[in-house]
Symmetry: C2
Subunit: 713 residues, 2 copies
């Protein structure tokens, strides 16, 4: 690939991006797509979108970019929660560090690479891209100190930026805990592995234990029951009943429409529903009451305390001398509780964790099979020799081009789409008690998967499985990577250009959600469902962004041309995701910024990988001095990582006694405590409350693969 | 080596053992050695040993064995504390498991090995030892299932024995916590990294913080001061003063002796000291008082609480939103506190831990240099070719035998003696706050060191450094070990015979302490110092015993002949250490059985290593079925280890709320609480109290290498 080809490719991609973005700016103005592009806003602000028919609706505009740009961080915090802010901080950090990298690499490293060999340079546009990589630098060249200096500058600025981000985010997290309105989860602990007894009922056992050992602060408790088959049947029956109630209401409220559409599957307009709410509510509590006896109690319960401090204390202390009984932990927020996992016996958890770890690793390696097959397709003639039946494929040029040029990436994409749901399933089996915890766990799994399967497997591409043996000789890894990464630099540039930019366009356009909406509306003739607003798919988006960061760091020194394209990606991503958080996704639950330690660790890993590869490169280029200078940098980065782990990590895992005691005192003084206690008793509700918002509050995204099909539920 | 040579060697060693043990049984009856062999008893029971001169004193007897055998576990518990019981449980466990192994291996594996090849067997006494190892089994032999079954039997019985031991010891630990008299450490937390202020004094800061946030349970606090140079000078001056006081008393009390011996270096008879005690005590408190102002306060303090539960709560909860300030942890027992480390700023700890980890690893590898040199000496002719100056060594047979046969092991032993003090130094630098913690940390380091340098380096012997590369190919390790371990089986048998048995003889004879005592008495003419009773050197003895366990497990299947010798070692060791705990060592401080998790993990590691080696052996012997059956065993062992970690480990790290609350209630009801609070305030005393027992209570064993030179202090 030469420069002009790269520029052509970039031009095409820029064209496509511009096209998609203008398409978006038109589509978002169409009233029929309002639930696709303004789901969160409609849901939260309870307003109906009405727009007169004007010509302006069909003129592309950049107003959404301006709107996304102008929103302040505080507004994002109130709209999307701390998680959204943390997610956007990844972009801010990336833009900052890659701006520095761009300056260093374009003005320092690039000229050294370009003039590395004593050769006749032609016109720049026809130069091969290899001329701009470190492969062009002579062995034993004295100019490698430029690369080494660049390494120092990048590492040091990345570390200082990371430090300040971690510090800011932990302060934000603290302010979020102390500044937000009273949170039921702060007063509640989840007790698991409660020993059962034939003499006492479970509720008596819990009451006796906590009044005995935490008498002064114990308030109440709520047993968690396992929803059995009967419960599921009742719950389904209730749903059907609800639908029919809705339909009757609609029939009363609206004008008659052909009854064809009003079967049990139809959605109804939500604001006509309040009518029957009270009545239904009364019935439901009766139902709930009779259910409770039939449900199986499981040995877990929420225990409420009078103060936040008491809850923290009860969650931290080992309750009895048997560490497998009365296991306590701070409870998740009410809407963050993942009810289906609460019945899992505590003693199963460690084995589930091990099993899912194993399953994830096996899945990661099994994924190599389709990857290898796909890579085989690009060498069709070789495949034809091995499998004679492939000879029947007509030897026409466009068929071959289709099979070897287009099919592989389609197959790979299809396989890649299966990854998030698989990982989500593994995370569910693992047994987390909160939905945010499950998402975080899936995020880590997808992250490892992406880094392994996109970065490492591509770097060692060609014959992945035959190259696996290099991992059995850890010492040779730097040298191998040093050879492979510059060779793959072109691939990574096109990866950023196509997949990176395209993923942003598809994100903003919500292609899947849009086509689903159209199908729903014009083929099945269903009405809009205002409650099907998806929550932000952090578990798929965070790994994507972090992967580009990893590619950026590892390639920056070796092939500096990648950095400008990455910068464009991050800048565009920053705008797009701000827009999406403002308009599309709702935040039903949040982890309180616990995503950041993952981001931090991955970035540190990227820095270390960058340094190890540089070490290998300096080794193969015969530059012992540069190699020698890289080692202290490695040690410094490791020390920095340990330092941050000690200074900030505990904040994300624990609540501080000082803060909680002061919040308790304030509530006592203002007399709010009584109200909080009253609210506490009803805060955690295992059965979905029968209001119209119920479905989405208790909405299960376990089967959701990509962000886009979340709307299906 | 053949069987008769082995039996000769065993005979010689048995002879030596018998000789040493009878020597011990005579020496222990001599009044001059009473402080060497009955230090603990004399110190604790405050009795003077008086023995009339009888002939019986010079007749060897086995009465000490009977006495050691008859003592019950409860007596050991009261005498030596939980740590001593846990230490002896290692022997009980080893005797049990190796009895099973002996039966399985001698009746199952040994015949299979012996008749493995179709060959003419000569007389058993002249058979090579290799005939009894797995090396004698044909490739692809069907009889390898015997080895596989033996592996299953050993692993399963080891796991069930380990489980029951862990269970028993954790119950013992719990009973120890609840059953023992009120312990000041249960009411006390150690607070570190207290923020300093220019406006308030440190003591005000602490008082304000704890009355504000833990007001209902806060009792008092005690600031820790850093002993500076002035303090050291004062402390030394005090010691000299004390000595002179003692001497004057001795002069009054005893008959006059030539004044030559009564310099500042002399020891005095302790029971004549009470005389001046009160007077001196008064002076010392004055001194202490004036000191306190001059001492530097460091940002750490002991904080006392009214109840045990409150202390546990305060130690567990994150105090403020800055995780590097107000760091709390449960305090060690008063006599377990390692004062010199308390001044270390908390923020230094993580870096110290990393540095010592690095230093330990470097030390472990640097140790290969003397080992290689020593191994080179055994091939003197090769060395002479390389270093011509060695040719000047006279070529007489005995010189060569001396240089190549005796010198290497002496040099190695000298180097090995330097290991415990080095590791103890590393552990001190690491910054543990308790003496038991420091010993435990040193124990782990010595354990890793021993396993690496005795097991792995010997297995890969000959050219250690040239074989290091096998660790860069993890996949090949099992095959390498499978080849190397059977080859080294003979070496390990002689290792057990000589070093194992000899170390027990030297332990019971206390060679170092004995000769030091003689020197002291008959050359320097010093009197006995009844306070110089050493504490049990767990950090050197536990690794030794565990190493023999490791050798036993790894060799049992491959060379079953080793097992009987090991059984003798463990049985003898059981008796010897019981005797030593009863008579010799004192227990000033204890870790409460926290040694057991280390023992458990090491044993699980040994089992895994045994299985990995077996896997390698089955691989090289072409027995895929046996290999296949070994893998589930590996997984089972890993699962077992995880299971135990979850079920028992928390007990060794935390105190349970239930137990503490009930202990608190009992003390409240019996009215003992007031007394306990009074005692608390004086429990932790940074300056050694000026009573005669002070010196050994605050006795510093940082410079102690082997067990034997502990008496030197």
């Amino acid at each position: 690939m030469n420069i002009s080809a790269l520029l052509t490719s970039a031009g095409i991609n820029i064209g496509f991006c511009a096209l998609f973005l203008s398409l978006y700016s038109i589509l978002r103005k169409q009233p029929s797509n309002v639930y696709v592009y303004f789901g969160r806003r409609l849901e939260k602000e309870n307003s109906r979108y009405e727009d007169p028919f004007t010509l302006e609706r069909f003129v592309p505009s950049a107003s959404w970019i301006m709107k996304a740009w102008e929103v302040t961080e505080d507004e994002i915090l109130t709209i999307g929660g701390l998680d959204a802010v943390v997610f956007l901080r990844i972009f801010v950090f990336s833009i900052r560090i890659f701006s520095i990298t761009a300056v260093v690499c374009v003005f320092g490293v690039l000229p050294v690479n370009y003039f590395g060999q004593e050769m006749q340079h032609g016109r720049i546009s026809s130069e091969s891209l290899d001329v701009f990589t470190i492969a062009n630098v002579k062995e034993g060249s004295k100019w490698l100190w430029v690369h080494c200096t660049a390494l120092y500058i990048i590492t040091c600025s990345a570390c200082s930026l990371l430090y300040s981000e971690y510090k800011n985010i932990s302060q934000m997290k603290l302010a979020h805990v102390t500044g937000s309105p009273p949170n039921p989860s702060h007063f509640t602990i989840l007790v698991r592995a409660i020993p059962k007894s034939t003499e006492e009922s479970l509720t008596d056992i819990i009451r006796n234990f906590f009044t005995n050992y935490h008498g002064s602060s114990y308030l109440s408790h709520q047993i968690i029951s396992r929803t059995g088959r009967f419960q599921k049947f009742m719950s389904n029956a209730k749903k059907v009943y609800k639908k029919f109630v809705r339909i009757r209401v609609t029939a009363l409220d609206n004008k008659c429409r052909p009854s064809l559409y009003r079967c049990g599957l139809c959605g109804v307009v939500s604001n006509s529903f309040q009518f029957y709410h009270g009545d239904y509510n009364g019935k439901s509590t009766d139902l709930q009451h009779s259910d409770t006896r039939k449900r199986k109690e499981c040995s877990a319960a929420f225990v409420f305390f009078k103060t936040r401090y008491a809850a923290v204390v009860a969650s931290k202390v080992l309750q009895t001398s048997n560490p497998m009984q009365w296991v306590t932990g701070i409870a998740p927020e009410p809407c963050d509780v993942y009810w289906p996992n609460l019945w899992i016996p505590f003693r199963q958890l460690w084995i589930r964790r091990l099993a899912t770890l194993l399953a994830t690793i096996v899945f990661m390696f099994l994924f190599l099979i389709p990857v290898t097959f796909v890579q085989g397709l690009t060498q069709l003639d070789q495949l034809q020799q091995k499998f004679p039946f492939l000879n029947r494929i007509p030897n026409k040029a466009f068929v071959i081009q289709f099979v070897s040029g287009y099919l592989p990436s389609v197959i790979l994409q299809v396989f890649l789409y299966s990854v998030p749901p698989m990982m989500m399933m593994f995370s569910t089996v693992e047994g987390p008690i909160s939905r945010s915890g499950r998402k975080r766990s899936a995020c880590c799994k997808i992250l490892y998967f992406t880094i392994w399967n996109v970065f490492f497997v591509n770097v060692l591409s060609g014959s992945v499985i035959s190259q696996l043996h290099i991992f059995s000789r850890p010492k040779d890894i730097p040298a191998h990577l040093a050879k492979a990464v510059p060779r793959q630099a072109t691939f990574f540039i096109t990866y950023v250009l196509t997949l990176g930019w395209a993923s942003l366009s598809s994100e903003v356009l919500q292609t899947f959600s849009l086509s689903y909406n159209w199908m729903r509306k014009y083929i099945f003739r269903l009405k809009d469902d205002p409650n099907a607003v998806p929550s932000f798919p952090y578990h798929t988006e965070v790994p994507k962004v972090l992967l580009f960061g990893l590619i950026g760091f590892t390639c920056s020194i070796l092939a500096p041309l990648i950095v400008p394209f990455l910068l464009v990606y991050f800048f565009l991503g920053y705008l797009v995701y701000r827009n999406q958080i403002l308009n599309v996704y709702s935040s039903y639950y949040e982890s309180g910024g616990r995503m950041w330690p993952i981001v931090h660790n991955t970035t540190v890993f990227s820095l270390l990988l960058m340094q190890i590869i540089a070490l290998g490169v300096f080794g193969t280029k015969d530059a012992p001095v540069a190699s020698g200078f890289t080692i202290p940098l490695l040690i410094f980065t490791l020390l920095f990582s340990e330092y941050c782990r000690h200074h900030f990590n505990p904040i994300f895992k624990n609540f501080s006694a000082q803060d909680f005691i002061e919040m308790d005192r304030e509530d006592e003084q203002t007399g709010r405590m009584k109200d909080i206690h009253m609210q506490l008793l009803t805060a955690y509700c295992q059965l979905p409350p029968p209001t119209s918002n119920a479905e989405e509050t208790y909405y299960d995204d376990s089967v959701i693969g990509d962000a886009h099909n979340q709307v299906t539920i």
